[in-house]
Amino acid sequence: MLNLLLHEIRSRWRAILGWGIGLILFGAVYISIFPGLFEQLQSLKDLSVYKLVGMRLGSVEGYMASVILVYISILLCIYCIVASTSTLAGEEDNGTLELIVAMPLSRWQILTAKAIALSVVVLFIMIIASIGNALILAVIKINNPINVTPLGLFTALMSSVPLAFGFIMIGFFLGAILPNRRLSATVLTILFIASFFVENIAGMVKSLESIRYLSLFNYYNTTETIFADGTQSSDILILLGAAVVFFILAVICFQRRNITVGAWPWQRGKITD
């Protein structure tokens, strides 16, 4: 199992570098243009459209949190959607999973190795991205009064990792129950978009307050308070708990899955004549 895990991590070193550097560049652009943009953005701070997409433009910290934290986490989750669904369902579609399943490994070992490997990859991506963004902030801070420390930005960015773990495990779960990768990725994308907008809309519409707890984004703090207060441990625990639950469900479904068949669960293994 350890060898499969190491292989899975090794096979993604390009993704680690590519996404890590990409997220640094993304942050670099938005952090560096911010000082010149701040006054212009003040006039737009009350527009609902910005609130809808999670942007708070009233303060430097709000901008940093809503632009850097929200959009880097969105980009990271997009990677998680692609990678988690291609790892299990994608490999089944490509036929390579048949070779792995024919190896002397239990199904749970295969899934565990793949899930841990992808989680480690995401962790590495965020460590690179967070260090890079913190360094850029340190440089920008020299000439601009920004009340966010590089360490604060690093910690805040790293707090998106449990959110990413949640989407990774949902991706594995969907890959284990749905017939193919395309459907798994589509469903996970819909869940991701719904989760993002439910959290933001619920902040504006009181009647939707109760359903925001179903959104994983509800447990990821993207307000300016994160720089001062950090992330609540209860939120981290809820996200990690959701990840564990979906991982367990994925293992149960993967154990029962007929590999290479690509059928819905209720179409598998029934004698009808």
Binding site: L4, G95, A102, R268, K270, T272
Partner: protein, 304 residues
């Protein structure tokens, strides 16, 4: 060949929803034998192999390998097996050498490096390239090397020579023979009946998911039907041999070729009045037996 049973299936059935995969399959493969598994496309050959390996779970029945349950003891069983899938899919960006190393690393058994080198040389494969750079035939060679390199007790091969040139096909058959000579077991699913006839001890014939015949290759060839060429002294009339179980295949004057699926008594009885100058028994290939099972002229064939 030992009497120890390596593969045993008991009423093994797999259904995909309403679709039949295999039905009530009962077969056993003994240690040290090369067992050929024959059937047309969609008959259930690959489903059987995948079920034995626990890639697909049975709807009913069970399979045991080395006396262990295929579902409960899957990992332990697969430690003693290597498998070449019929539809071999490889990681395009991975080098063949890395792929082979990966497969070895996922198993407890150590690899005999010198045997691997020998295999690569015999098969004619340079493993230093990425999978996407190989032709179909070379990809199949990677699968063949992966199947044989571990020297496993049981090797399951699904169409192992598909896409290989005749020389490499011959090498694969030699490898199968060597496995047999070492007392290990091979389960070979193939459409290539000549290779099945060349290396298999017994064959199982599957049709519409049901095992319809399990027999020694030699017995199957000799028992299924005989082909006789009789040279008569005088030419029999066209309807002289309208007997059940006897079919005239060709006629050239006094020389008639018969296919006989029953005892020869009645044919000889009918032939005697025309004087028999010479009788020659013609060899029947496994391919012809196979066609007899599945061909449209076979009344019993479900494909008819």
């Amino acid at each position: 060949m030992s009497s120890e049973i390596i593969i045993q299936t008991n009423d093994l059935s797999v259904y995909y929803g309403a679709h039949r995969g295999i039905k009530d399959l009962n077969l056993s493969v003994q240690k040290g034998e090369v067992f050929g598994f024959l059937g047309p496309n969609g008959a259930g050959k690959t489903t059987t192999l995948r079920t034995i390996l626990d890639i697909i779970h049975p709807t009913q029945g069970s399979a045991t390998l080395f006396g262990l349950d295929s579902q409960k003891d899957g990992a332990a069983i697969r430690e003693r097996i290597s498998y070449l899938p019929g539809e071999l899919s490889l990681y395009p960006s991975m080098k063949a050498s890395y792929f082979l190393d990966l497969l070895v690393s996922l198993q407890k058994n150590k690899l005999d490096d010198s045997y691997l080198e020998q295999l690569l040389e015999r098969i004619g494969l340079d493993p230093s390239r990425k999978m996407k750079e190989y032709s179909h035939g070379n990809k199949q060679k990677i699968g063949v090397v992966a199947a044989f390199m571990g020297k496993k007790e049981l090797i399951i091969l699904d169409e192992p020579t598909l896409g290989l040139d005749p020389l490499v096909q011959q090498t694969v058959l030699e490898l199968v023979q060597e496995v047999k000579d070492e007392g290990r077991t091979v389960f070979l699913s193939s459409h290539n009946l000549k290779e099945v006839q060349a290396v298999c001890d017994r064959v199982g014939i599957i049709q519409n998911g049901e095992l319809i015949k399990t027999e020694k290759v030699e017995t199957l060839i000799n028992q299924q039907f005989k082909r006789l060429e009789i040279h008569f002294r005088k030419e029999p009339p066209p309807d002289a041999f309208a007997i059940e179980g006897v079919k005239e295949i060709s006629r050239d004057g006094n020389l008639i070729l018969f296919e006989v699926s029953q005892d020869l008594d009645r044919l000889m009885e009918k032939a005697a009045p025309y004087g028999i100058k010479d009788i020659e028994t013609k060899a029947v290939s496994l391919e012809e037996i196979f066609l007899a099972f599945y061909g449209p002229h076979n009344a019993g064939g479900k494909n008819a």
